[in-house]
């Protein structure tokens, strides 16, 4: 029976209710319009609710109903290619129901109830099934076979199993204890889905971005943070990862950011090809959008909605990459709610539990062996937006204590249009060593030494720059001038990568290797020539060096590079010296 309570107080997104006794995190329907909210504090005979919709006009005394359920998402076929708000309402359905502006009080199912999916069972009557086990499959998109799993907390013997076309809420399997299973299951967003075992991440997520793959790789199942001031490239980098990573599924959470950026993804992804499968990128993507002008409480929820969906696909044995842009907005939504609750503020007004919430979230990343018996992974990449670009603030600092990869964006680089503006000196990846074997085997035996060498040159460059600032570059010895020149080539030819260039936007590992190798070849020949007494001026004015700047833009990279390398041999031969 429904017990009704009533509203006691309304102050923005925080509503105090009385007259019912909900559990913590129960979902309640607030007011005559039934606005959705979640219980976040209980005190005496009152409970505090964060409401996921605008509360204008809502009055004390209006009714409140407890659903008795916690905030959950619907999991099943049809998630892919969707765009949801923070509480999994499909934005497309909202538009159909209420037009171009989001009105409140509208409910919409996460999964379409009318669409029929072709269910193929893989178990038979009499089989016993455990929690998480696969009972059948549905072809969700051309490349993704959606595995229908028994919910983690259910097990038993199959009494009846169907085959054919069903909607997500039709029963497809009955267990001997009478439990009916549908293709759809619900899962509470704040509770991680269980796994059989966590594994050590051992493969890189190949992103096609030279500075990421080459210098600061993230592992599949790993965690990375990308902090930077406004306009430094967080979103572009996240979108590049969503586009080009060699992953099966992408969950992209636009958390408190711009509406136009989501529109952009919606516009572009159906047109772009997944480099791995050749299918439209949208077919592997789930979007969650709570833009900066959408209700703050739903922003807090959006991150959990996203990671729960990611876990669900991971359980099927897929590699999932999750991008959250920006985790700072999520942290701020916690701060806003916390301050409305008049909780004791911690550093910069953030609640004392900020750090704990961040770790719990990143902890849901990982490579795992799932209950269904598959290996899957979730890689989490979080953007961080530090006020004033100052990395010493609490969200950046708490995040850096957790994540293993740090891509530090630098406004000095973005201002001169050095993109991606990831600072090569302050960024790091703790996976570099763990992935070394993989690179040696799969890229090239000399890849690690090429890379270390490049890093070393960049390091030397920054030290030499300090001297140049005092005396000018002409005062440096010639070999050091050459070092500066090669470092510049590494920066401009290799590290710089234009996300908007049709060819350069995606760089396969093989091309990354050949490009760096070519720069290193110039370095070796130049140093040898210098030692043999060739004048510095001649060495740096070989044309092939400048030609190398543009091979990355060439459609036919291989042959363009070969032309340059042949020319380089010829030019150095002419310089002689030996």
């Amino acid at each position: 029976m429904e017990v009704k309570g009533e509203i006691y107080r309304v102050a923005g997104p925080v509503v105090t209710i009385t007259g019912i006794k909900p559990k913590m995190y129960d979902v309640v329907k607030v007011g005559h319009e039934g606005l959705m909210g979640e219980v976040i504090r209980i005190k005496g005979d009152k409970a505090t609710v964060q409401v996921y919709e605008d509360t204008s006009g809502i009055k004390p005394g209006e009714p409140v109903v407890n659903t008795g359920m916690s905030l959950s998402v619907e999991l099943g076929p049809g998630l892919l290619e969707s765009i949801y708000d923070g509480i999994q309402r499909p934005l497309k359905v909202l538009q159909e129901q209420m037009g171009d502006f989001i009105q409140r009080g509208v409910t919409a199912n996460g999964l379409d109830r009318d669409k029929k999916w072709d269910f193929k069972p893989i178990v038979s009557g009499g089989d016993s099934v455990k929690g998480g086990e696969v009972i059948g499959v549905v072809q969700e998109t051309m490349n993704i076979e959606h595995k229908i799993m028994v919910p983690p907390n259910v097990s038993g013997t199959v009494n009846e199993i169907k085959s054919g076309k069903f909607t997500v809420d039709e029963t497809i399997c009955v267990l001997s204890d009478g439990t009916e299973l549908q293709m759809m299951q619900k899962w509470s967003v704040r509770k991680p889905r269980p796994v059989a075992k966590k594994l050590m991440p051992s493969k890189p997520l190949i992103t096609g971005q030279r500075i990421l793959d080459g210098l600061f790789p993230v592992a599949k199942g790993g965690t990375a943070a990308i902090p930077g001031p406004f306009g430094s490239g967080k979103t572009v980098t996240q979108q590049q990862l969503a586009k080009w990573s060699d992953t099966d599924i992408v969950v992209y959470i636009g958390c408190g950011e711009r509406g136009n950026e989501m529109a952009d993804v919606l516009n572009e992804f159906p047109e772009l090809e997944d480099p791995k499968t050749g299918r439209p990128l949208m077919e592997r993507t789930v979007l969650i959008a709570n833009t900066s002008n959408m209700p703050v409480a739903a922003r807090e929820a959006s991150v959990y909605t996203g990671i729960t969906i990611a876990e669900y696909y991971r359980d099927m044995g897929y590699d999932v990459a999750l991008m959250a842009d920006s985790t700072s907005r999520w942290a701020e939504s916690m701060r806003e709610i916390s301050s409305r609750l008049e909780e004791m503020p911690g550093e910069e007004g953030y609640p004392a539990y900020l750090s704990a919430r961040l770790s719990e979230f990143y902890e849901r990343a990982g490579a795992v062996h799932s209950l269904a018996g598959f290996d899957g992974s979730i890689t989490v990449i979080g953007a961080v937006s530090p006020p004033g670009g100052d990395f010493s603030e609490p969200v950046t600092q708490s995040t850096l204590r957790i994540v293993k990869v740090f891509w530090a964006l630098d406004a000095k680089l973005s201002q001169r249009r050095h993109f991606p503006s990831i600072n090569w000196l302050s960024s790091y990846s703790l996976y570099t060593n763990g992935l070394a074997d993989w690179f040696t085997e799969n890229v090239a035996p000399d890849w690690i030494s090429l890379r270390d060498n490049a890093m070393d040159l960049l390091q030397q460059e920054s030290e030499l720059q300090e001297i140049v600032q005092l005396v000018g570059s002409d005062a440096l010895p010639e070999d050091q001038q050459l070092t500066l020149e090669i470092a510049r080539m590494i920066r401009e030819y290799f590290l710089q990568q234009n996300a908007f260039h049709p060819v350069d936007t995606f760089c396969p590992f093989d091309k990354q290797y050949k490009l760096l190798k070519a720069i290193s070849k110039y370095g070796e020949m130049a140093n040898a020539a210098l030692e043999a007494g060739v004048p510095m001026g001649d060495i740096i004015s070989v044309e092939s060096k400048d030609d190398l700047a543009k091979v990355k833009y060439e459609e036919d990279f291989e042959s363009a590079l070969n032309v340059v390398l042949t020319k380089m041999d010829a030019e150095f031969a002419k310089l002689g010296g030996k």
Binding site: S56, N260, A263, T291, S292, E348, G388, R416
Partner: protein, 462 residues
């Protein structure tokens, strides 16, 4: 329904506290009748069965416990109609020009609902402003929100007006309008805008909301919402392309801070409320283009950075929401360069979708990137030259140093009424100054563009 309460228990700053009311809605509009017969307006901030807190827009001066409070049962609305064009209204939407009240076609909640991201159409239409540092390197597109970050005493008003005069989508004749929202600016500044609007005939196609420096600060919190409501109405009901100019965002944020302090909230960074990001987003995000609608809302706001500090919370939070910023520089202004726009910290995030083949020209992006890279390096050289002298620079570096000067002199500097065409002027000048550099320096530009557009090659082929 129109019950009047005389149960004010506390007046504190812009807030009043009342007891023993019937249930009152959150965000409701409130009328307060003063003993002297005047009426003020306010809005419910917090409502419970025991106490109601109201923020008073015109300030609480003259209020006492004898004042009567009437809850209107609705949120703040703006009366809209197409007749608003050509009108001057107060920051709260009342006529200031002596004209009649607006006969409403509709009354719209000024808070606006959030646009469904699914309904948005990514902005792609290039707007030519005739200013090279915008068109060439920080392109504005229809539906974008691109503020000017400036400083006290810099010519941001002139730049804004030049843009308002010159801005157009090439080859298009679609109806446009300007919505101007003044927040806490001086009467003189407001006059400056009004005169220019009148002189150029822009006023006929404008709706003006004025909240001046001596008007109550709290009113400033609704002025931009009124303006954006008018803009959305004209854009989506009357198919107009609306350019919204809001000035000065900094005054708006000060009012927000003042309100937060009055409510005794825990302040965030430098005393500004923790929710300032969300609040500003509720303004800036009201720019855009909607699928299937002909009109659009473009925002070009002015924000003066306190102490010229771009990391100050007001420009900082704005920059995190807007689609770029145009930064006005004191250094260039002192050098006598107009418009003193420093392109390095400036950015238009929507530039890439508004330029290129079929829109401006295929080489546009590469040319812009190349100029950025060289100008940035050239400015570094200036610092170096001051220490080690010009002779210590290599030949390459000297060229780049010269480029920085050329860039400021020829590309940045232009006349106050000079309306440059993107291809015939802006890109032409860009190539002219780039061609002063050795060709090997042009590493950002594809060879095919160098072949097609570099003056040296063009001369050859002609």
């Amino acid at each position: 329904m129109t019950k009047e309460y005389k149960t004010i228990t506390e007046v504190s700053g812009p807030l009043i506290f009342l007891e023993k009311t019937e249930p009152v809605g959150y965000g409701e509009l409130v009328n307060i009748n003063l003993p002297d017969g005047t009426t003020k307006r306010g809005q419910v901030l917090d409502t419970s069965a025991d106490t109601v807190v109201v923020q008073v827009f015109e300030g609480t001066g003259g209020l006492n416990s004898e004042s009567g409070v009437v809850f209107t049962g609705e949120t703040i609305k703006l009366s809209v109609s197409k007749d608003m064009l050509g009108r001057i209204l107060s920051g709260a939407g009342e006529p200031l020009d002596g004209g009649p009240r607006i006969v409403p076609d509709d009354r719209i909640d000024v808070n606006g609902a959030s646009m469904n991201p699914y309904s948005r159409l990514p902005p792609v239409d290039f707007i030519q402003t005739g200013i090279s540092t915008i068109d060439g390197t920080n392109t504005l597109v229809r539906g974008q929100k691109l503020p000017i970050f400036s400083g006290a005493g810099l010519p941001h008003n002139e730049i804004a007006l030049q843009i308002a005069r010159q801005a157009k989508v090439l080859g298009s004749d679609e109806p446009f309008a300007v919505v101007f929202a003044a927040m806490g600016i001086t009467n003189e500044e407001a006059q400056y805008f009004m005169q220019d609007f009148e002189k150029t005939g822009a006023l006929e196609r404008a709706v003006v909301f004025l909240n001046l420096a001596d008007d109550p600060a709290v009113e400033r919190l609704i002025t931009p919402r009124m303006a954006l409501t008018a803009a959305e109405y004209l854009a989506y009901e009357h198919d107009m392309h609306v350019l919204v100019i809001m000035t000065d965002i900094t005054n708006y944020c000060e009012a927000l801070r003042q309100m937060g302090a009055a409510r005794e909230e825990v302040p965030g960074r430098r005393g500004y409320p923790g929710y300032m990001y969300t609040d500003l987003a509720s303004l800036y995000e009201r720019a855009g283009v909607i699928k299937g609608k002909k009109g659009s809302v473009t925002q070009f706001s002015i924000l003066t950075m306190p102490g010229d500090d771009i990391t100050h919370p007001i420009p900082d939070l704005s920059g995190y929401i807007t689609e770029g910023q145009i930064v006005v520089s004191r250094e260039l202004h002192r050098k006598g360069i107009y418009p003193p726009i420093n392109v390095l910290p400036s950015l238009s995030r929507l530039m890439n979708s508004g330029i290129g083949k079929g829109k401006t020209r295929e080489d546009h992006k590469a040319v812009s990137d190349q100029m950025y890279a060289m100008y940035a390096e050239g400015r570094d050289m200036r610092g170096l030259v001051a220490i080690v002298g010009k002779d210590a620079l290599s030949e390459r570096d000297q060229k780049i140093l010269e480029f920085a000067d050329l860039f400021e002199d020829r590309f940045v500097r232009q006349g106050r009424n000079e309306n440059r065409h993107i291809v015939d002027d802006t890109l032409r000048i860009a190539w002219e100054i780039l061609s002063e550099l050795p060709m090997a320096q042009l590493t950002r530009i594809d060879n095919k563009f160098i072949d097609a557009y570099h003056p040296a090659n063009k001369a050859k082929s002609e």
